[in-house]
Subunit: 547 residues, 2 copies
């Protein structure tokens, strides 16, 4: 059996190595059009910033290793230019010499990845405008910065790579402006969680130009550039990083007549098989099923790509492995803040017309408050209103973000509910968590909502009602929601007479806990009360500025 693998990074390399482990006799050829296989593309921004000092650190496994350890024929700088499904051959072109050859295959695996989007704007090809996909990209960016002593950078695109690049450029002493078409950074997140990232970026000197699209690029003399936007702004830059997003590399698949999906990726079944039974596809170029929504989606992440590569290898070796779909679990660190998400966002659910969900906000500490160093973490959990099934979670904070999202990701994978979070038994010692971990706490709050113990409202729900602030007077006088009336929780029972019985009472406090207690008192005394989720902390996120 001869297997040709096109693309030698995450998905392709995983497929090749796995296939060899399953089949000592298979003839395996892996080609990549770039100079390296199996490099750490997720590390590129950190090599630009200098945290990963040596370029060689990015080369996780090299050609020689594939050859010697796995007996895999590896050809770099080698592009697959055509596939004949009739003769079951692939045409390979040496990128340097232009020479081509024809290789037969029994099974073909496509792992072409996704390419950074380069919109056809005026000046897009000017020197000094870079994308970040390959090791040579990172090298070129470093060299450009050093040669020009770059002082100002514009990063176009506020997604994961854009923000990682922004942080790393700041680490090099460069002034950075991020231009983003949407009115938020981190498009997979809901805007109110993204806002926390935006505040943190600004605190660290990054300028944000949100809700503004790039219109073009021009030279401004002395080798400098200007990034022109639709709003009419001109951002000066010694270097421009294009991180608008990626587009699945489907040209070869298209040309071969393989089916594409509605999102523009290569269509595959659960076995990672394309519409041609002898051709598989894995990684950023394929459409996958969103594990939570069941919809087709494009999720360019390393973990899923690796897993898909393994599954393709399994199936080629005659096994029945299936890909369970992608949750989109992702994390990004910027200037010490981590922001992560798993599962569906609220805006995704709204977009697909799913209204059977509720959300809660909590702002607990990363570990026991009585042990020094606890940081606030802001978490949003989305769940099915009808049965409590977990749909998604997002969190931001300086400590303990990854582990909370990991635990919830595992619960989502197992089709768990908010009640499972409530009952979760996680590590607790004062420096690591709480006797009620934030994950438990999220489950408890959500379960209180579903059991109808705590009717819920949100700052942006548009509900009108009597606004009741149950914090202490000194907290209230330090800033509160307009028109709110202050009755501290501890005296609430004695002052019920001051509250209206003909209107809904919307209760809030600092983080939501005291308002929960107050809501319980009010509901049991016959008032129509709701807790505004996440308290004044959530309000500060939704409506930044002085309270």
């Amino acid at each position: 059996m001869k297997v040709v693998i096109v693309g030698g990074v995450a998905g392709g390399a995983s497929c090749a190595a796995r296939l060899r482990r399953l089949d000592e006799k298979a003839e395996i050829l892996m080609v990549d059009q770039g100079p390296y296989v199996s490099f750490a593309n997720c590390g590129l921004p950190y090599h630009v910033g200098g945290t990963i000092e040596k370029e060689s650190s990015l080369l996780v496994a090299d050609e020689r290793l594939f050859r010697e350890r796995f007996r895999i024929d590896v050809r770099t700088r080698c592009e697959a230019t055509a596939i004949s499904t009739e003769t079951k051959t692939v045409e390979l072109k040496n990128v340097e010499t232009g020479k081509t050859c024809i290789e037969p295959y029994d099974k073909l695996v496509l792992s072409p990845g996704a390419a950074p989007i380069r919109p056809p704007l005026s000046g897009i090809d000017l020197p000094g405008i870079f994308t970040v996909r390959t090791v040579p990209d990172a090298r070129n960016i470093r060299e450009w910065i050093e040669a020009r002593s770059a002082k100002r950078a514009v990063v176009v695109g506020g997604g994961f790579i854009g923000l990682e690049m922004a942080e790393n450029l700041v680490h090099r002493g460069i002034e950075v402006t991020v231009v983003e078409m949407l009115d938020q950074v981190m498009p997979p997140l809901d805007p109110e969680i993204a806002r926390l990232v935006e505040q943190h970026l600004e605190k660290h000197g990054v300028k944000l130009a949100l809700g503004d699209a790039v219109a073009g690029f021009q030279e401004s003399g002395g080798g400098a550039l200007e990034v022109l936007t639709k709003s009419g702004a001109a951002h000066p830059a010694d270097i421009v990083i294009l991180a608008i997003g990626v587009r699945p590399e489907t040209s070869l698949a298209k040309q071969t007549g393989l089916e594409l999906g509605g999102r523009g990726g290569i269509r595959v079944d659960a076995h990672m098989r394309t519409s041609n039974p002898d051709i598989f596809a894995v990684g950023d170029a394929v459409e996958v099923t969103d594990f939570v929504t069941g919809q087709q989606t494009l999720i360019p992440l390393a973990g899923p790509a690796n897993r898909q590569g393994r599954i393709a290898a399994d199936v080629i070796a005659g096994r029945d492995s299936r890909y369970r779909g992608t949750q989109g679990t992702a994390i990004c660190g910027v200037f010490g803040l981590a922001v992560a998400s798993t599962g569906a966002s609220e805006k995704l659910l709204v977009r697909i017309g799913d209204a059977d969900f509720e959300k809660i906000y909590i702002n607990p500490r990363s570990h026991a408050g009585y042990y020094p160093g606890a940081k606030m973490l802001s978490m949003k959990v989305i769940f099915r209103k009808s049965d409590g099934r977990l749909l998604g979670a997002q969190a931001a904070g300086e400590d303990g973000i990854d582990k909370r999202i990991d635990a919830i990701a595992m619960a989502i994978q197992m089709e768990g509910t908010v009640y499972d979070l409530e009952e979760a038994e996680l590590c607790y010692a004062p420096q690591f968590g709480g006797a009620k971990d934030p994950v438990n706490f999220a489950g408890m709050v959500a379960a209180d909502v579903l059991r109808n113990d705590m009717p819920l409202s949100h700052w942006n729900s548009g509900e009108a009602g009597f606004l009741l602030d149950v914090r202490d007077p000194d907290e209230f006088s330090g800033g509160h929601a307009p028109v709110a009336i202050n009755i501290p929780l501890n005296g609430l029972r004695e002052r019920l007479g001051e509250l209206p019985r003909d209107r809904e009472i919307l209760v809030y406090c600092h983080s939501g806990q005291r308002a929960y207690y107050a809501t319980r008192i009010l509901v049991q005394n016959g008032f129509a009360a709701k807790n505004i989720s996440g308290g004044i902390l959530s309000r500060a996120i939704l409506f930044p500025g002085p309270q």
Copy 2:
């Protein structure tokens, strides 16, 4: 309805607050024999060490808060001395004045906790011998250390509290010896994982006297003590901390005729109800069902106690809440090393006669190797041989331990398998994890075993075979298992002729990965090969000393 709660720390306090939220009208009386309710007992060692500076930080909620916020009648220094189930009354004694009173109850909740064991050894009551259970205990220890300028301490007992105390005493400049009857620290862990903790403690100057029981205590002049052991040793000490373990406080339950379980704790059903339908019990004093083994057990942990308190309140308020059992998820930090576990240990499974399990060892990095600062973590995962169900996991390392155990704890809770770990989609960016997270990696290795792709052996399995080291020659010459033959992986295919076909070949490398590749090559070439799990790293743990 009048509810009396005996014991005002984790379980009792949670029960009281929850009950108030569910029932504004219930009359709630909570008593505690100590001076404080709802204090952070898990923080006591850190207050002794000074990390938690102020004693007041340990008081999570005080009497006033319970009174004002929850309308709960709190009485401290108040002991419940007798219960009459016929008249449904409880006798309460003011610990200071000795005065008693009788309080009627509709429902009674016992949350008496567990008391540190003080074995009846000679000299046990000498001044300078302390246990660590209450805020006054911590205060007395601090005062003793300061007044005597204590230089040497003996901690009796190498469990969680003992080791936390050892670390905190070292932080105060005190020389510490830990005397432990078992031949390992951290009794809930398997010995080979505990060994990592022992090595770390010794590296930080803690002396360990394992496998030696205390025989008695004596004064040695000048106010100093000696801790005498069964082996005949005499450890000098200016202060002794007794942390041998805890015993459920069952005297009141016994005296009331409530049923106890086989492990000596108060017997309760899933609703936390004792054998008397109007009396509930929660926390460290009750026997719970081990979620994994189904057996009755005593697990004195804060998280479960809180949850049990909430469930008792739910049931008293007429709800159908049930306790799902305890996994025993726990973590301990000592000198920057974290060690954690969840579910069943191997020794527990052996003890209860369950042979349907397999285990794997992995030693991956805490995050992507190409990003600086990754630490090795050592993980053991135990799973059902027949169906892959996860039974338990243990891990030790300087980074990322809590989150791996949390993710696996969630999987165990959801009755997940090693295949679920294999497919888990966790947060990945280079500073947080790997494209194949250690959790995935554990799942992959375990699944390889179950799919029979990788027959497994262990260093301590006693199997005889041809021992093959597939590391590079320089690694081999740096230390290897006795009688091992070195054939580096990359040249293995050419040297198959050097290997026996009539004996089992036991393959190892550094961490197990290359040995896995080698095992695949050998198995496919008709050899009877097994991978020794965890490689030379696991060997170093099992058989410390030069390799």
